[in-house]
Symmetry: C2
Subunit: 384 residues, 2 copies
């Protein structure tokens, strides 16, 4: 009998993940969120990283907007939204990378992804509260992203022109998603560039013979010299694939559906560890040594991305192999990532699938990938 995934995911989200963050993350004294947690939820660092703060505002707002109108979730979103509004930006409106517990800026605004996450955070928060100031911040942050796009790191750019020729996957990927969200809220002109980001991914970064979505490409679509030119981040490609698949479903484009599923399957096939199961973190397509020491670790987020991506692909095409892959990921997550003792999920397993770091939250792991995948899966499964 097929497991009742809708119930499993609803229970996991509402009885495990959300309560962990509601209990441990909210800094009611200073505002904002703690996000460095040891296995038991105790805080081991009080720094507040911008990406993670914005993502938590987004996630609580999203839960409120799409799952249930729980006042405590809105309060939790407000705790971050107001703290960041008051402490998060420099005089240009650019978002710092890191704040202290009390909101003192610790790291300059060199990372434009902070700003892209601010856009979706304040957009979602604005939808939840109807507060115009939140939409204003979303729009202003988006404007700054557009202004800075040509040289996102500004004066903190360390690469000289000869080293900056490659096209990177991250930026068009996130901007494809952000511009679509903006267009839905504020009208088409905000989504005007959406197709061009997709075109960059398709024309430069995907090898259509194999379906492999690379992290870097030269502007002519050729492979850069060295490890960067051979680098696949399976989780990242899988995340992009479902962004594109959702869009393809919305506009009913079957060709685009097929392309996104081709990317998804190629990423899974190159990333899946046939020896120990789970998705490897980085792959060199020619089998040369990756530069990332953590290349063979199993991280939570590629798996949560894959969990929803294969569910969505299976829902779209009904292909049994897609359903089987969803189950492989699901079983791996439930066996290895969930912590039945202290709740939430481990983030970092070694290749064999044993926790290598016991943390539940850190510099990257926050209230985002796991609850987003569960929420998306619930909405997909329950709409029937």
């Amino acid at each position: 009998m097929k497991p009742d995934y809708a119930s499993i995911y609803r229970k996991e989200l509402l009885e495990n993940i959300v309560p962990f963050w509601m209990k441990n993350s909210l800094d009611k004294k200073h505002g904002g969120y703690y996000h460095h947690f040891d296995r038991d939820g105790s805080v081991f660092c009080t720094d507040k990283m911008m990406w993670l703060q914005h993502r938590e505002v987004w996630m609580f707002s999203r839960l409120y907007n799409l799952l249930e109108k729980r006042g405590e979730w809105l309060d939790a979103a407000r705790l971050g939204a107001e703290f960041l509004r008051d402490h998060g930006r420099d005089e240009n409106g650019d978002w710092y990378f890191l704040l202290s517990e009390t909101g003192e800026p610790l790291t300059v605004p060199y990372n434009i992804f902070s700003d892209t996450f601010a856009v979706i955070a304040y957009l979602e928060y604005g939808k939840a509260t109807g507060e115009g100031w939140a939409f204003d911040i979303a729009k202003a942050s988006f404007k700054r992203v557009q202004e800075r796009a040509g040289n996102p790191k500004g004066k903190w750019e360390k690469r000289l022109p000869a080293a900056r020729k490659a096209v990177e996957h991250s930026f068009p990927m996130i901007m494809f998603s952000v511009t679509r969200e903006l267009a839905k809220a504020f009208g088409k002109e905000y989504g005007a560039s959406s197709d061009s980001y997709l075109k960059t991914i398709f024309d430069k970064l995907v090898d259509w013979k194999t379906g492999l979505l690379y992290e870097y490409a030269m502007p002519d679509g050729s492979r850069p010299q060295g490890p960067a030119g051979r680098l696949i981040n399976p989780g990242h490609a899988i995340e992009s694939a479902w962004f594109i698949l959702e869009y393809a479903r919305e506009i009913g484009n079957e060709e685009l559906i097929k392309k996104s599923v081709k990317i998804l399957n190629a990423a899974f096939e190159i990333g899946w560890d046939k020896k120990y199961k789970g998705l490897l973190y980085f792959i060199d397509t020619e089998g040369k040594p990756p530069m990332q020491l953590e290349w063979d670790m199993k991280l939570w987020w590629p798996h949560t991305e894959a969990l929803y991506a294969f569910l969505l692909a299976y829902d779209t095409l009904g292909d049994k192999e897609l359903g089987k892959r969803h189950k492989m990921i699901h079983d791996y997550c439930w066996k290895h990532f969930r912590d039945p003792k202290y709740g939430e999920w481990f983030g970092y397993l070694n290749r064999e699938g044993k926790p290598s770091l016991m943390l539940k939250g850190g510099r990257f792991k926050c209230f985002f990938h796991t609850p987003r995948a569960l929420l998306n899966s619930i909405l997909l499964l329950e709409k029937k």
Copy 2:
């Protein structure tokens, strides 16, 4: 019977390590060195990182100066020294972080350690060749290091003042070593600051109750908030310990000998993996999650540093436990790091001691730690 370590190390250096780099590393077409090698010595990236280029100039010069006057070693040193002289610096004389194969600068000079390695590279090369221009570069680079020391990253500094209060181990550690080398070559005034770097390490970074040498401390000697305040890099502490021990032997200071060996033993005791042997890469002193995903890997360089450090400590004090620790490290290296099939040493093992990356050279692994430890050990053992 005690192994004949002098012969073993001489054979390892001259019949395994040096031939690998002589064969694979020298870029006779463009100058400089390749240093990204797959298991069999094939080049998998042609970028030339400044730290590694300088270290290779230093190492070939050092072998020539201290082991044998082989012309091929001097030629190898010259290949790097002249390439870097011609391509390595910006208009201020600061060293770029990364060059392309042909010497085109790829990354700005944001990293002052490039400059400290330039000092010792050109100093050693100058000693080998007697060429005045090399000494001039060593002196000029040292001058720039002194000028930049207050704000080493210059305009590329991302940390705001509130985040820059901590004292870091790396800088006083390398400067203690560099200023001592300079003083020996050019006279006392170059070594004037040497004692103040040692004082910083002793007064701020070492906890004398335990002997633990931390990576970060607050200016008043207290522990910084979060993981930085609890971070031990055993290999780094061990390397510092033998820098200090060599100095203590030179000046015949028994108190200083004891202190350096206390640091050495404390780093070994907290770093040694009782379950799988070998030295762990990073340790949180309170057992909280380290921020480095690679924390439980076994890297070659902490082991090569420990190999020489314990040999030196045993030679100094004759304490059997120190000899035993040298043997533990030696046996681990010979069992796990050496590659009998393709030569040289693996750099990156997983916790269990199996190679996780097959590379023989990469962004950090170069012609430095292993040959330096072997050379130092040979010189120590053969002087008797």
